[in-house]
Symmetry: C2
Subunit: 705 residues, 2 copies
C-alpha cells in the first residue's frame, strides 16, 4: 500500500492565525473543561486510548462492508471499555496510596445511587463525546447498555431486584439494551403490541409477538451484541391488560451466545449514520421468563396474579429525561466538532480573489463564509451551557423527587422536551451548513462531516421526535397560559408570560442582548396566547379538544419553538453573565464568550424575525441596526476564531478529518486517505471486462432516443 508522507510542519496560514490571536487557547480550554485539573485528566485518558495500537485502523472504516465494519466495531468497543476501566483502576490505586480518605469515600459510594447516575452520565459523555467519536465514529454496539439498560434497572427495579441485577449489569457481566419501539409503533406507547401474559401455574410470564408490526425494532446492540434486554410489553393477567411494563429478558446464551429458543433476533441493516450500532429486531414465540423478571418498582404482580400499581407513574419519566439531557450535550458536541473542521479548513483553503489581480484569500475572509461558520460555533457553545444548566436542574429535581416533592417534574419535562427538539434540529442543520461551507471536499467522507451529520440527524428522531416534542411542550404552555389568565403562580421558565399578558405592545427596542431576549419572549408569549385563543375558539365549533388541537397544530408547534428559543436565549445570557463575574476566568476568554453570545442572539433574532415583526413594532432602522451588529460581530470574532476552536481541545483522532486537523496539512491528508483506498491497490479493476466488451460493441448514436 502506497501512502504519502504527511509533513510534520504546520500550515503557515494556521501558524499566522495562532500567532496573531489575542485569545489564549489553553485558557479557553481550561474554562471549557471546568478547570486545569479536569483538562489534564482528559488529555491523559486520551493519550492512553489514542496511543493504543489495537485501536488503530489500517484502512479507513468507510471502505469496509457492512459486516466487516460491525466486526471491527465490536473489536474496538470492547478494547475501549477495557482501557477505560484499566485507566481508572490504576488512577484509583494511585489516589488510594496518597489519599486513603478519598478512596474510602469512593468505596462507600458504590452503594450510592447518585454516584451510579453520575457514573452513567460521565461514561455516556465519554462514549458519546471525544473518546467515543475518536474510536467509534459510527457508534458503539455496547453504548445502550450504559445509556438505557443500566438506567432502567436503576430506575425501575425494586430493591430485591436491584440486589439480583445491579452488580452484574454494572460490571458488564451481561450486556443489555432497551427494547421499546416496535416495527409499527413508536411515539404512541399504549399502542405497543408485544404481550407478556402471566401464567400463575408456573409463575412465569409468556412473551409473544402476535403480529409482524409487533416485532421490536431499532434497539442498539440488539442484533448480535447483547445477551439481555429490557422489553416494554403489554402485561396481561387472566387476559386483562395492565398497561406497559418493563421486563428483563435473556435473548442469548451467556456462554455460546446462541439465540435462545423462541427468540427471532437480528440486525435491521444500514442506516444514514450510526452504522455500527447493530440496531436490531426481536420477535418472541412463547418465551417464558420468571415472574420476578418484570421490573417491579412501580407495579407489582404477586405470585397469585394480584396486580399492585404504584400511586404515581411520574417516576417513569426519569430515564427519558436523562437521555434528553444527554442529547443537548450531544448537539453541542456535533457543532463544535463540525465547527472546528470548517473553521480550520476555511483558514487553510484559499479561493476567489476579493480584489481582482490579488492572490486568492483565505476563504474565512469572505464575509459570506463567516456567516456560515461562526454562528454554528456560537450555538455549540450556548448548547453546552444549556446542557450544564439542565443537568444541574435534573439532579436537583431528582433529589426533590426522592424526598417526595413532585413540583419541578412537569417543568423539567417541559424544558427537556423543548431543548431536545430545539438543539437536535439546530445541530443537524448547523452541521450541514458547515459541511456545505467546505465545498466539494466537505462532501468526502474523509472530511468526517458525514458521520457527524448522521449522528446529529438521528437525534432529531430518537427519544422523542421533534414535532411530538413540540406538541408536548405546547400542551404545557397552553396550561401555563390558562394559569396566567387566572393569575395563578407560574413555574420560573414560563414566568415571562405574565409580562406578555400584561403589556399590549412591545416598547423600547434597542439592539442589545437583553432587548433581543425580551422581544423573543414577547413574541413567544403572543404566539402562545394566539394558539390558546385559536384553540378555545376552534373548540367551540368542534366538540373534541384533540381534534381542535390537530387543527391548531401549526400554531402550537410555532409557539413551542419560539418559547424554547426565548428560554434558550435567556439561559445562555444568564449563564454567560454568571461566568463573566467569575474571577478565575481570563478577560480574553470572557470577551470571546460574550462576542459569541452576542452573535448567537443576533442570529436568533434574524431566524425569528418574521414572528417578531408580527408582534413587536420594530422600525426599519431597528432591523438595520441589528444587521450592522451582525456584521460587527463577525468582524470582532474573525481574528480569534482559530484560537477559539483550538480551545475546544479536540484531538486529531476525535476530529478524524482530513480538513480539520490541527496542523492544517489538508491536501496531504486527503491524498494520503485516497492512497489507502483498496480500489487503488490494483492498476486495473476486474470490472474492466464489462467495459471492454461494451466499447467493442456496435455504434451507439445510430439509434434514435
Amino acid at each position: 500500500m502506497t501512502t504519502t508522507m504527511i509533513p510534520s510542519t504546520m500550515n503557515t496560514d494556521l501558524q499566522n492565525e495562532r500567532r496573531k490571536a489575542s485569545l489564549n487557547s489553553e485558557k479557553f480550554a481550561e474554562w471549557w473543561f471546568n478547570g486545569r485539573a479536569e483538562l489534564a485528566k482528559k488529555r491523559e485518558l486520551e493519550s492512553v486510548i489514542f496511543n493504543d495500537a489495537q485501536l488503530n485502523d489500517d484502512i479507513p472504516i468507510s471502505y469496509l462492508s457492512y459486516k466487516e465494519s460491525y466486526e471491527n466495531a465490536m473489536r474496538k468497543s470492547t478494547r475501549l471499555l477495557y482501557l477505560i476501566k484499566k485507566y481508572y483502576r490504576e488512577s484509583d490505586s494511585a489516589d488510594a496510596s496518597t489519599s486513603p480518605s478519598k478512596s474510602t469515600a469512593i468505596n462507600k459510594k458504590d452503594n450510592d445511587e447518585k454516584a451510579k447516575w453520575a457514573f452513567l452520565y460521565k461514561l455516556r459523555s465519554m462514549l458519546g463525546g471525544e473518546i467515543g467519536s475518536g474510536i467509534l465514529k459510527q457508534g458503539n454496539p455496547i453504548r445502550l447498555h450504559i445509556t438505557m439498560f443500566l438506567p432502567t434497572i436503576l430506575g425501575q427495579a425494586s430493591e430485591e431486584q436491584k440486589l439480583e441485577w445491579m452488580e452484574k449489569c454494572f460490571d458488564l457481566k451481561i450486556i443489555g439494551t432497551y427494547a421499546q419501539t416496535e416495527l409499527g409503533h413508536g411515539t404512541f406507547l399504549r399502542g405497543l403490541e408485544t404481550r407478556a401474559d402471566y401464567d400463575p401455574s408456573t409463575k412465569q410470564f409468556v412473551l409473544n409477538s402476535p403480529t409482524r408490526t409487533s416485532y421490536k425494532w431499532w434497539p442498539g446492540g440488539l442484533g448480535h451484541t447483547v445477551n439481555y434486554t429490557i422489553v416494554m410489553a403489554q402485561m396481561y393477567v387472566d387476559g386483562k391488560s395492565h398497561g406497559i411494563q418493563p421486563f428483563v429478558i435473556q435473548v442469548r446464551d451467556e456462554e455460546t451466545h446462541m439465540p435462545l429458543s423462541g427468540i427471532d433476533i437480528g440486525d435491521i441493516g444500514p442506516k444514514m449514520g450510526l452504522k455500527h450500532v447493530n440496531n436490531g429486531y426481536l420477535g418472541f414465540h412463547n418465551v417464558r421468563i420468571p415472574r420476578t423478571n418484570m421490573l417491579m418498582k412501580n407495579c407489582q404482580v404477586l405470585e397469585d396474579g394480584t396486580v399492585r400499581k404504584a400511586k404515581s407513574s411520574v417516576l417513569v419519566y426519569g430515564g427519558m429525561v436523562f437521555v434528553r439531557v444527554v442529547i443537548v450535550r450531544d448537539a453541542s458536541f456535533a457543532l463544535i466538532m463540525a465547527g472546528t473542521i470548517a473553521a480550520r479548513y476555511s483558514a487553510v483553503r484559499r479561493q476567489s480573489p476579493i480584489e481582482s489581480n490579488t492572490p486568492e484569500p483565505q476563504v474565512i475572509d469572505h464575509i459570506t463564509q463567516q456567516l456560515k461558520v461562526f454562528p454554528q460555533i456560537a450555538k455549540g457553545i450556548v448548547f453546552k451551557l444549556a446542557a450544564d444548566y439542565v443537568w444541574d436542574l435534573y439532579q436537583t429535581t431528582m433529589s426533590s423527587l426522592d424526598e417526595g416533592n413532585l413540583n419541578g417534574l412537569a417543568e423539567l419535562h417541559l424544558i427537556t422536551c423543548g431543548l431536545k427538539a430545539y438543539t437536535s434540529n439546530a445541530s443537524r442543520k448547523g452541521v450541514e451548513i458547515l459541511r456545505l461551507a467546505c465545498g466539494g471536499h466537505g462532501y468526502m467522507e474523509s472530511a468526517n462531516f458525514v458521520s457527524i451529520y448522521g449522528t446529529a440527524a438521528a437525534s432529531c428522531t430518537y427519544e422523542g421526535e421533534t414535532t411530538v416534542m413540540w406538541l408536548q411542550t405546547a400542551r404545557y404552555l397552553m396550561k401555563a397560559w390558562g394559569a396566567v389568565i387566572k393569575g395563578e403562580k407560574l413555574a420560573p421558565s414560563v414566568s415571562y408570560l405574565k409580562y406578555a399578558h400584561r403589556e399590549t405592545e412591545f416598547k423600547g427596542f434597542t439592539p442589545n442582548q437583553w432587548s433581543v431576549i425580551r422581544a423573543l419572549q414577547f413574541t413567544a408569549g403572543n404566539l402562545i396566547k394566539s394558539a390558546y385563543e385559536t384553540l378555545e375558539k376552534t373548540k367551540e365549533n368542534i366538540e373534541s379538544y384533540e381534534v381542535a388541537k390537530n387543527l391548531t397544530g401549526l400554531r402550537l408547534v410555532k409557539a413551542a419553538e419560539l418559547h424554547t428559543a426565548a428560554f434558550l436565549a435567556d439561559v445562555a445570557f444568564r449563564q454567560i453573565k454568571k461566568q463573566l463575574n467569575s474571577i478565575r476566568n481570563s478577560k480574553e476568554v470572557m470577551s470571546a464568550l460574550n462576542q459569541m453570545l452576542d452573535l448567537f442572539l443576533v442570529d436568533m433574532f434574524f431566524e425569528y424575525l418574521s414572528d417578531i415583526l408580527k408582534y413587536c413594532q420594530l422600525s426599519g432602522q431597528d432591523v438595520d441596526a441589528m444587521e450592522k451588529r451582525l456584521e460587527n460581530n463577525l468582524k470582532l470574532i474573525r481574528p480569534n476564531i482559530i484560537a477559539l476552536v483550538d480551545g475546544f481541545d479536540l484531538h486529531d483522532r476525535v476530529l478524524d478529518s482530513t480538513l480539520g486537523s490541527y496542523d492544517g496539512n489538508v491536501y496531504e491528508r486527503i491524498f494520503d486517505n485516497a492512497k489507502k483506498n483498496p480500489l487503488n491497490q490494483e492498476p486495473v479493476n476486474s470490472s474492466y471486462v464489462h467495459l471492454k466488451a461494451f466499447m467493442k460493441m456496435s455504434p451507439f448514436m445510430k439509434s434514435n432516443l
Copy 2:
C-alpha cells in the same frame, strides 16, 4: 438466505385513498409525461430494463464494501447502456418498417448538432432520472461521458477535430470524463495549476502537475473507468500563459486499460452520496500529447506556436449552462421521489390518536405532517415546470447564438445561476424534511432517502457552489439596478425592477396568487436597491469595488435569493396558467395543479415573510389570512395526495424504497430487507470472541470514573 414473502395484496389504507380520490392518476401521468404516447414509451423501456435478470441485485448494495460496490456498478452501467441501445435500435427498425420517411429524417439528423444536444439531454434525463436511479442509485461511473465529455467535444472542438473525435465518442468506443477542478482549486478557474507547455520541436503539448494541489480531483469515472478525459489546463507557449484551455488526453491503454506512462490516477474514496461514481484524481508527469488534442474552436495554437484567440469567450458558457439546466430537473426529480415515498408511508403508517380512545389515525391526517410533506411535492412540480421553461429558453438562446446574437446569453446565465442555487438547495432541504417526516424508519437506508439526499446534497456544490451562484446573480442584478436608475431597457426577467423603483410603498395586498408574487417582487426589488446603495456608499469609503462587495456580501446574497424566488414564483404562475387553458388536460388535473401552485406560493410567502414585512406594509390580518389559506390548501390537497403522487408514475424499482412502494406493504418489505442482511446469515457473529473475553473480565463499576 431466509426471505419473507411480500403479500401480493395492496395495503387497505392505500386502497381507500385511491378509491376516494377525485383525481385520476393516469390522467395526471399523461400530463406529467407530455402525453399518452410518451408515457407509454417510458413504461415500455422501463419494462425492458427492470425485467432484465442481470440488473437485479441479490443483496441490497448498501451491504457491499466500497470496492465491491464499484464493481457492481460497472457491471450494471454497461448492461444498462447496452439495453437502452438495443431497445432504441429495435424500435427504430420497427418505425422504419412502417414509416420509411421518418427513418430517413433520423438518418439525416445524425449529422445535426441540434439532434446531438437533444440526444444528450434525453440520455442524461434517463440516466439521471427514472431509469438511472432504478438501476444505479448511487450514481453511474459512465455518466460524465454523456453529461460533460460529449458536450465539451461538441461545443469546443473545431470542425476538423469533430471529424476526428465525434464518432468514436458518441459511439462510446472510448469513454471519457471532464477534469477541471483540482485538489486546491475549484470556483476560481484562473487559479488552476495544471500546465500544458507547447513544444514546437515535436508539435506536442507537455502536461505536468507541478504541485500536490494541482492534482485533478473529483471527475466522475476518472478513477478506474475512463480511458480518455478532457483536461482544463493553463496553456503555455514559450513560457507565456495563454489562459485555461481544454485538452483531450488519453489516460489508459485502449486494450489493456493500464494507466499510461506519466499518469498517476485513482479513486478519491467514499463520499456522502453518489458513492459509485468512481470520482478520481489525476496527476501528470511529462505527459506528451499531439498539438491537435487541444480543442481549438475558441483558441488555436498553430504548429509554430502562434496563438490565435477567438473574438469572444462567451461560447464557453454553453456547456456549463446546459448542466445547470439539467440540475433544475434533478431537483424536481429528487423532491417527487422523496415526496412519493413520504406521502405513501404517511398514508400507511398509523400513529398517535387525535382523539383519546380512538384508533391511531393515518399519520397523514395530522396537519403538522401535511405541512411537512405537501409543500415539498408542490416544489417538485414547480421545479419541473421551471426546468421545462429554462430548457426551452436555453434552446432558443443557443439558436440565436449560432446566428451571432449574444443578447440573451447574459440573462440566461443569470437565470440558470439563480435557479441552480435555489432549486438545488430547496431540494436538499426538502428531501431531508420528508425523511424526517418518516420518523425512525426514514433513517434506514432501505427507505432510500439516504441516497436521494446524497445526490441532492451534491448538486448544491458541484457546477457552481451556492454562494458563488448568488454572488454571480447579484452582480447581474447590480448592473440591472444601475440600468433602472438610468431608465435603460431591461431584460424580461428583471423588468419588474421598474415597478419596485417607481413605487415607494406596496399597496393593496390580498391573499391571492398574484399578490404574493407582487409582494415578492417588491421585496426583491427593494433588497436589490438596498444592496446597490450600500455598495455605492461603502465604495465611497473603501477604494476597491471588490472589497466593498465583500463587505456587502450578506445583502447581495439575500437580494439574489429573493430575486430568484420572485422569478420562480412568476414562472410557476405563468406556466400553470398556460396549462389551465390547454384543452387536452383534464379539469381534475388542472385543479390539483392549481392547488399545488397555491400551496407553493403560500409556503414561499412564509419563508420570506421577514423580508416581505420589512418592505411591504402588511397588517396582522393579512398574515392571518395567509395562514388560513395555508390550512385551507392542506385540506384541499389531502384527499388527492396519493392519487397525485401515483401520477408521477415512479416504478417501484425507481423508488427502491421499503416505505414507498405502490402496494404499501411497508412492514413486510422492511422485514424482507433485513433478512437479506449478510450479518443475519449466521446466528453468532465471529466478533463474539471479543465480547466473551470482555464479559469474563474483572468488575467494571468498582473503578471510579
